[in-house]
C-alpha cells in the first residue's frame, strides 16, 4: 500500500513537472500557477521519499527494495538510513533534492519573473530526466513477488552514524550544482541584460561547495576509522570523482569574486557552472554503473550504466552546446597586472583546472587502457601524489597574500612586513625540521601551511580593526577560509609524512612501549549487540601518571549478512592519534598494527573552519 502511494506520488510529481515545461505558445500559464505546479511537484516527490522511509521503518517486506536492504532487527536509525543506503533509494533522494533546490530557489530568488521561470524550467527538465531514470530502471517501489517475513539486511559497512549522513551531505553538494547549472544555462538563453544571476550563482555555488566539503570530509573520516587502513584518503576512484567537482566548485567560487573588480568574466563562469554539474553527474554515473572498482562497489549495478551514461551525455552535451551557440559576447578587458587580484585569481583558476584534468585523466585512464589493450591497470596514490600535489603548491603559496592584493594596482600595502615575516618563518621552520626528522615534503607542507596561517593573520591584523561584531567576522571571511586550508595542509602533511607504523604479535597481558607510552593488552571482550556481535581487544594506554585511555580495536560480525567489519580503535588527542587495528589470532597471539598519526585532528579542524567560512559567506549575501 505504502509503496503504491510512493510510486503514484513520484509519477504525479513528474507529470506536474512536465506541465511546467509546456511552451508559452501552446499554453499560457500564469506565474502563480506555474509556481504552484513546481511546488506541488516538490511536495509530491518528498511524499514519495517519505513513504519509502516509512516502508523501511515499518519493515514492510512486501516492498522489494526494503526486503533486499533491510532487516526487522536493525536499530531504527539504520532502518531510516537504509532508505538511501542502496541504489534505488539514493537516486530517489537525489531526485528529491533536485526538486527541493528548485523549490527553495523559487522562494528566495529576487530575479525577474521571466528569468526565474527559465531557471525553474531547466531545473524541472533535470528533475524529469532523473525521474524517468528511477521509474524505468531503478524503481524503489517494486512489489516483492515472494511473501517473506524477513529482509536480507543492510550491508554492515553502511551501519555507521557517519555514513548515515555522508550520502545526503554529498548529494546536497552534487545536486546543488544542478541549480548552478540551471542558472548558467538560463543566463545564456535569457534576453534581458539582468545581472542578478551572477549573485545567485555565487550564493548557490558556495552552498553546494560547503555541503560537498562536509560530505567528502564525513566520507574521509568514516574511511579513517572504519576501513582500518590507517589513513583518511586513498585516492580511491570514488574519492577522486568527488574531489573533481569540489575543486571545480572552488574555482567557480573564486571566479565569481572577480565581479567585485567589475570584470565579470561571464563565459568562464558559465563554463565552470556547467563543468561542476557535469562532474557531479559523472561521479554518480561512475559510482552507480559500477564501472570503477572501489570501496563503494557495493552500490554498483552495470545494467543501469547505459542509462546514466545517456543522462550524463545529454545533460552535459546540452549544456556545452548551448554554451557554444549562445556564448556571451560581452567583451571584457581583464585588468591583468603582474600581481593584482585578477591575475592571482586567474592563476588560481588555471591551477585548479589543471588539477581537475590531472585527476580526471588518472581516474578514467584505467578504463581507456582496458578498452584499447584489454589489460587491467589501476592508477593509485603515487600517481596522484606526484602529479596533483606539485600543481597545487604554487596556489598555496599565493593563497596567503591573495586576499590583500589590490584590484587595480600592482602594489601590496606594507609589502615589507610580509617579506620579513615570511623569511623569519622559513628560518624557524627550516631549523625546526633540521633538528627533528628532516623530510623535504614535510618541510614544504609545514612551511606553506603555517605561512598561509601567519600571512592571513598578518593581513587581518593590518587591514581590519578588531571588534567582536558579525561585520568583522564577515569582512575577514576569506582569510578565515584560507586559515582553514592552512590548518588542513599542516594536518595532511604531518599525518602522511610523519606517520609511523608498528606491527606486533601480542598475547593478553603483554606490554609494549611506543613513544614513551606503555600499551598494555588487557583482554578480549565478546559482546552481543543488538544487530551484531562485537569482538574487542581492550588496550590501556599508560604514561607516567597512570592510565590515559582505553583503546578497543576489534571486529564486528553481522549474522544477518554474515559479514565481518574491522573497527579501528583510535585514541584521539590534539597532537596525535594512536590508531590500532586488530588482525587475526594464532596460538593466542594476536596480530596488531599500531599507527601513530600526528596532527590528524588538524585536518578535521581545517575542514570545520572552511565549512564555517562558507556558512558565513552565504549569510553575508
Amino acid at each position: 500500500m505504502i509503496s503504491l502511494i510512493g510510486f503514484s506520488a513520484l509519477c504525479l510529481s513528474s507529470i506536474f513537472s512536465c506541465i511546467v515545461l509546456i511552451p508559452k505558445s501552446i499554453l499560457q500559464i500564469k506565474i502563480k500557477y506555474f509556481l504552484f505546479f513546481i511546488r506541488s511537484s516538490t511536495f509530491l516527490v518528498c511524499l514519495s521519499f517519505l513513504s519509502l522511509i516509512f516502508a523501511y521503518v515499518t519493515s514492510d517486506f512486501s516492498n522489494f527494495n526494503v526486503f533486499q536492504n533491510s532487516h526487522s532487527e536493525k536499530p531504527l536509525i539504520y532502518k531510516i538510513t537504509g532508505a538511501w543506503g542502496n541504489h534505488e533509494g539514493s537516486i530517489l533522494l537525489w531526485v528529491c533534492m533536485i526538486s527541493i533546490y528548485g523549490f527553495i530557489y523559487s522562494l528566495l530568488s529576487k530575479s525577474l519573473d521571466s528569468f526565474k521561470i527559465l531557471v525553474l524550467k531547466i531545473q524541472s527538465s533535470l528533475f524529469i530526466i532523473f525521474c524517468f531514470f528511477i521509474i524505468f530502471t531503478s524503481n524503489p517501489f517494486l512489489v516483492n513477488s515472494v511473501i517473506v517475513e524477513e529482509g536480507l539486511g543492510l550491508n554492515p559497512i553502511l551501519q555507521d552514524p557517519a555514513l548515515a549522513i555522508h550520502p545526503p551531505m554529498l548529494y546536497l553538494g552534487y545536486v546543488g550544482f544542478s541549480l548552478v547549472f540551471s542558472l548558467a544555462i538560463a543566463s545564456l538563453l535569457k534576453t534581458e541584460s539582468d545581472q542578478m544571476w551572477v549573485l545567485e550563482t555565487q550564493k548557490w555555488s558556495i552552498i553546494s561547495w560547503g555541503f560537498l566539503t562536509a560530505g567528502i570530509a564525513l566520507g574521509s573520516y568514516w574511511a579513517y576509522y572504519e576501513l582500518g587502513w590507517g589513513g583518511w584518503w586513498f585516492w580511491d576512484p570514488v574519492e577522486n570523482i568527488s574531489l573533481m567537482p569540489w575543486i571545480a566548485g572552488l574555482a567557480l567560487v573564486h571566479s565569481l569574486l572577480m565581479i567585485k573588480g567589475e570584470q565579470a568574466i561571464q563565459r568562464w563562469i558559465v563554463f565552470l557552472s556547467i563543468l561542476c554539474f557535469s562532474l557531479s553527474i559523472l561521479g554518480t554515473f561512475l559510482v552507480r554503473s559500477g564501472i570503477l572498482t572501489s570501496v563503494h562497489s557495493f552500490a554498483a549495478d552495470a545494467s543501469r550504466g547505459l542509462f546514466i551514461l545517456l543522462i550524463f551525455f545529454v545533460t552535459t552535451g546540452f549544456g556545452f552546446l548551448v554554451f557554444l551557440i549562445k556564448s556571451p559576447t560581452k567583451k571584457n578587458d581583464l585588468n591583468l597586472l603582474l600581481i593584482n587580484k585578477t591575475s592571482a585569481l586567474i592563476i588560481n583558476n588555471i591551477l585548479m583546472m589543471i588539477a581537475v584534468l590531472t585527476i580526471l585523466i588518472g581516474t578514467i585512464y584505467p578504463i581507456i587502457i582496458e578498452v584499447l589493450t584489454n589489460t587491467r591497470i589501476s592508477v593509485g596514490g603515487p600517481y596522484f601524489n606526484s602529479t596533483v600535489l606539485p600543481i597545487l603548491l604554487p596556489g598555496f603559496l599565493l593563497m596567503s597574500v591573495a586576499p590583500v592584493l589590490s584590484w587595480q594596482t600592482n602594489k601590496i600595502k606594507k609589502f615589507r612586513v610580509y617579506v620579513i615575516c615570511f623569511l623569519i618563518l622559513s628560518l624557524i621552520i627550516t631549523i625546526q625540521s633540521y633538528l627533528t626528522t628532516f623530510n623535504p615534503w614535510g618541510l614544504i607542507g609545514l612551511l606553506l601551511g603555517s605561512w598561509i596561517i601567519v600571512g592571513s593573520l598578518i593581513s587581518v591584523i593590518l587591514r581590519y580593526k578588531f571588534s567582536f561584531t558579525s561585520k568583522y567576522i564577515k569582512s575577514i571571511n576569506s582569510f578565515t577560509a584560507h586559515i582553514g586550508v592552512g590548518v588542513m595542509i599542516i594536518g595532511v602533511t604531518y599525518s602522511s609524512v610523519y606517520q609511523k607504523e608498528f606491527n606486533f604479535n601480542m598475547q593478553i597481558g603483554d606490554e609494549i612501549t611506543i613513544e614513551n607510552q606503555l600499551l598494555k593488552f588487557d583482554e578480549i571482550k565478546i559482546v552481543d549487540q543488538e544487530n551484531y556481535q562485537s569482538l574487542r581487544a581492550v588496550f590501556s594506554l599508560i604514561n607516567n601518571n597512570g592510565i590515559i585511555s582505553y583503546i578497543d580495536p576489534g571486529k564486528n560480525y553481522y549474522p544477518v549478512s554474515k559479514m565481518i567489519t574491522t573497527e579501528a580503535g583510535i585514541y584521539h588527542a590534539w597532537l596525535k592519534d594512536i590508531y590500532i587495528t586488530l588482525g587475526s589470532e594464532t596460538d593466542n597471539q594476536w596480530f596488531i598494527k599500531v599507527y601513530i598519526n600526528p596532527l590528524v585532528s588538524f585536518i578535521w579542524i581545517g575542514v570545520f573552519i572552511m565549512i564555517f567560512a562558507s556558512i558565513v559567506a552565504v549569510i553575508k549575501k
Binding site: 556547467i274 572498482t293 551525455f313 554474515k562
Partner: protein
C-alpha cells in the same frame, strides 16, 4: 575566444562517453574484487562428518590434494540452484576432493536436502555455529573456494556457480 576553443568541451565529452560506452558494451565487470584470502593459506579448522560423529576432518589433511570447498544450507535457495553443477564438476575433474560445509543448518534438514538433491560431496562437514565460515570470510551463501595442493586458496566465488564460471574459471585451473 574562437569557436574552436568553445567546441573543445563537447569533443572531450564525446570522447569520454564513447570510451565508457565501449567499456559497458564489452561487458567488463571490474566488480569482482579478488578476495583478500586469495593466494593465502587456508584457515585452520576441524569439522565433524554429517553422517558420522566419530569422523573428523582436519584442515591439514587436505594438503596434497586439490580441494573444492562449498558452503551450503538447506534454507539457502541459490544453493539449490547451483547444486547439480557439483555433479558436473565431479565428473569433469575426478581428482578433485569436494568438501561441503552444512552452514548454520539443522543437521536433519541438511541430510534431507542432500537426499532430495543428491550428494556430490566427498565429505560433508558440519559448520553449525558458522565459525569455519567466519574464518573463511564467507560473505553470503553459497560460497565456493578451491584450494591447491599446498593448501593455498586459488579461487573464490560468492553466489551460485554457473556453467560459465566452471568452464571459464574452474576448469582452466586443472
Amino acid at each position: 575566444m574562437n569557436r574552436a576553443v568553445l567546441i573543445t568541451p563537447l569533443m572531450v565529452l564525446t570522447t569520454i562517453c564513447l570510451f565508457f560506452l565501449i567499456f559497458i558494451l564489452l561487458g567488463k565487470n571490474p566488480n569482482d574484487p579478488p578476495s583478500a584470502l586469495l593466494n593465502k593459506s587456508l584457515p585452520i579448522f576441524s569439522s565433524t562428518n554429517l553422517y558420522d560423529n566419530d569422523d573428523t576432518l582436519l584442515s591439514d589433511s587436505l594438503k596434497g590434494n586439490y580441494t573444492l570447498i562449498n558452503f551450503f544450507a538447506s534454507w539457502c535457495t541459490p544453493c539449490r540452484a547451483e547444486h547439480h553443477l557439483f555433479f558436473k564438476i565431479q565428473k569433469e575433474i575426478p581428482e578433485l576432493f569436494i568438501l561441503g560445509f552444512s552452514h548454520k543448518d539443522d543437521l536433519g534438514d541438511s541430510k534431507k536436502y542432500l537426499e532430495e538433491e543428491g550428494n556430490p560431496y566427498s565429505f560433508v562437514g558440519i559448520d553449525r555455529d558458522g565459525k569455519i565460515a567466519f574464518d573463511f570470510g564467507v560473505f553470503g551463501l553459497p560460497e565456493t573456494f578451491i584450494i591447491n595442493k599446498d593448501g593455498e586458496i586459488i579461487f573464490k566465488h560468492t553466489g551460485p556457480l554457473t556453467k560459465k564460471i566452471i568452464d571459464d574459471e574452474i576448469s582452466i585451473l586443472f
